[in-house]
């Protein structure tokens, strides 16, 4: 379809909702596993690494889809500051989605840990074994995670604001496809 669409493409919507579920899961897994001393720690840790690498692959695909397929325009009457906020938060989300798995992978490399995705399946290190580097990356992994969750909450609040207050179809553009019926 050549005409300017008001909705995200099906593949963009699929990637968005799949990654939304995985990223929120990942953030909860992350803060949970560093805290608990129960056997859940092992389970969550074993989940965290393959899920992180899956998200790295997905964000690369998603960035490609966004660049090639574009996005629907924001409502024309959206105030300037909200327009700027939307753009900035979307760039921030992409940046942090890509950064988190890379920080995690390089952090484990710098800490001298094997990057185990499944028994017998491990990734090569992408940083030298250096505990000073590890310490900074480990701190960054926490702070970027907190910033990511804060931005996700802001994004969630903005989506609800569009749906419940402005009622401008922005949430619908990601929630479902173009209606069949055309005037």
């Amino acid at each position: 379809m050549k005409r300017e669409t008001q909705h995200f493409t099906a593949v963009a919507r699929l990637l968005h909702w799949l990654m939304a579920v995985l990223i929120v899961t990942m953030l909860f897994v992350g803060v949970g596993m560093v805290s608990t001393v129960s056997r859940l720690h092992d389970t969550l840790l074993a989940l965290h690494r393959p899920l992180g690498i899956a998200l790295l692959v997905l964000v690369v695909i998603r960035a490609g889809v966004r660049v090639t397929r574009g996005t629907p325009p924001l409502p024309a009457d959206l105030p300037g500051w909200q327009r700027v906020g939307a753009k900035a938060s979307h760039y921030a989300l992409y940046a942090m989605m890509a950064a988190m798995p890379l920080i995690g992978w390089s952090m484990l490399s710098a800490g001298g840990y094997p990057v185990v995705l499944a028994p017998g399946v491990q990734l090569p290190p992408i940083a030298p074994h250096n505990v000073t580097l590890y310490a900074w990356l480990r701190a960054a992994h926490t702070w970027v995670a907190l910033a990511l969750y804060a931005t996700v909450l802001l994004h969630f609040a903005a989506a609800l604001f569009h749906a419940l207050i402005r009622r401008d179809g922005v949430l619908a553009s990601m929630a479902r496809g173009e209606p069949r019926r055309r005037a």
């Binding site: 953030l27 909860f28 803060v31 949970g32 596993m33 560093v34 805290s35 608990t36 001393v37 129960s38 056997r39 859940l40 720690h41 092992d42 840790l45 800490g111 001298g112 840990y113 094997p114 185990v116 028994p119 017998g120 491990q122 090569p124 074994h129 250096n130 505990v131 000073t132 590890y134 310490a135 900074w136 480990r138 701190a139 969750y149 909450l153 969630f156 609040a157 609800l160 604001f161 419940l164 207050i165 009622r167």
Partner: protein
């Protein structure tokens, strides 16, 4: 229509509630809302409260030294585990660490009757096997909760600098699980050297062979050097263990046999306070050879977290509740001491001592 009947403040409130719940769920998962919950930072905080902070050092087993060598597999281990480290004729480099329990990196060696030996096997394909072993085959407590309670009961009395015997006795009385450990300690004199000590995996693990059969195992390293008890003269030297090891290594490599003990059905895998019967199958999987030692401030072991749940394919954690707690707590200790290294808070290595500073 319903849309128009819901008031604007109600809709704004609904958004606030939804976002607030999402934030609260995250905070709860992270443990921020439950400061009394027993979590990994809480455990390490308790070590720091009891024994102070020694920047740059492990929060427990702080005094130690690094060793290097290799493991020569004879192939027997393949009977229970498909881990590449057990392949016949396989030589795997190891980075090890001998230590004594406690948070004080300059504690006298004779101040504790237990020694520890940690190993990192660097497998050819990037896999690793890390293990932290003690010179006692069983552990005093079964669960992380009991470990925490024991730690609290062991808090040194500011007046004497030692734990309050009444509190320790009360803990032991309330926890009969500790009896086998205490009985073992009462009947075994610490050895005169790291080199003539046995070290045990404590926890059970699950070994899986090439055919997919899974069996619980424990392991131990048995020294070629014969046992001799710690002497009174040694007890007077605060660093006799590292001096002794240096002297022995100067004369030649030191060897241990790696023994895998296979559980029989019904043997407990979730209880480190209980040994398996002595009649269990024991597999001599090969020889561990150490040929070099260095102080921990400059040795390779300094930058290793000996997390016992870092395992190669063919070995996995059992349902022992201590294993996950060890992994979680060691990570907190590693994160704190590496941050101290990074920010320059770690103490520089003093000169004139061959013991780990």
């Amino acid at each position: 229509m319903t849309r128009t009947t819901i008031c604007m403040p109600c809709r704004l409130a609904a958004i606030a509630v939804a976002v607030g719940c999402a934030a609260a769920a995250f905070a709860w998962t992270a443990g921020w809302l439950t400061p009394k919950r027993l979590d990994a930072p809480h455990l390490i905080d308790t070590f720091e409260t009891n024994y102070g902070v020694h920047p740059g050092y492990r929060r427990n087993h702080a005094k130690g030294l690094c060793v290097e060598g290799w493991f020569d597999s004879n192939g027997n281990g393949e009977r229970v585990s498909r881990a590449a480290v057990f392949a016949p004729q396989q030589r795997t480099p190891v980075i090890g660490r001998f230590a004594i329990p406690g948070s004080n990196p300059s504690a006298p060696d004779a101040s504790v009757p237990v020694r520890s030996f940690a190993l990192l096997f660097k497998l050819a394909d990037g896999e690793q096997w890390r293990t932290g072993m003690n010179s006692v085959p069983l552990f005093a407590v079964r669960t992380p909760r009991e470990f925490y309670q024991q730690l609290v009961a062991s808090k040194p009395d500011p007046a004497t600098g030692k734990p309050d015997p009444a509190k320790l006795a009360a803990f032991n009385h309330a926890h009969p699980d500790t009896l086998p450990f205490r009985q073992w300690m009462a009947t075994h004199t610490p050895s005169s050297s790291f080199a003539n000590s046995r070290f045990y995996s404590i926890n059970a693990f699950i070994a899986t062979d090439a055919a997919g059969h899974a069996r619980p195992v424990r392991w131990e390293v048995v020294p070629d050097t014969s046992y001799e008890p710690e002497t009174a003269a040694q007890k007077a030297q605060p660093d006799f263990l590292s001096r002794d090891l240096d002297a022995r290594l100067a004369a030649g490599p030191l060897r241990w046999h790696l023994i895998l003990t296979v559980a029989a059905p019904g043997d407990p895998t979730d209880d480190a306070t209980r040994q398996w019967p002595a009649a269990r199958e024991r597999i001599d999987a090969g020889t561990l050879v150490l040929q070099h030692a260095s102080p921990q401030r400059i040795g390779q072991c300094r930058d290793v977290n000996y997390d016992p749940t870092v395992l190669p394919a063919g070995l996995a954690p059992s349902d022992d509740p201590l294993l996950a707690a060890r992994s979680a707590a060691y990570a907190v200790s590693f994160n704190r001491r590496t941050r101290e290294e990074a920010t320059g808070a770690a103490a520089p290595a003093p000169s004139g001592q061959d013991s780990p500073p």
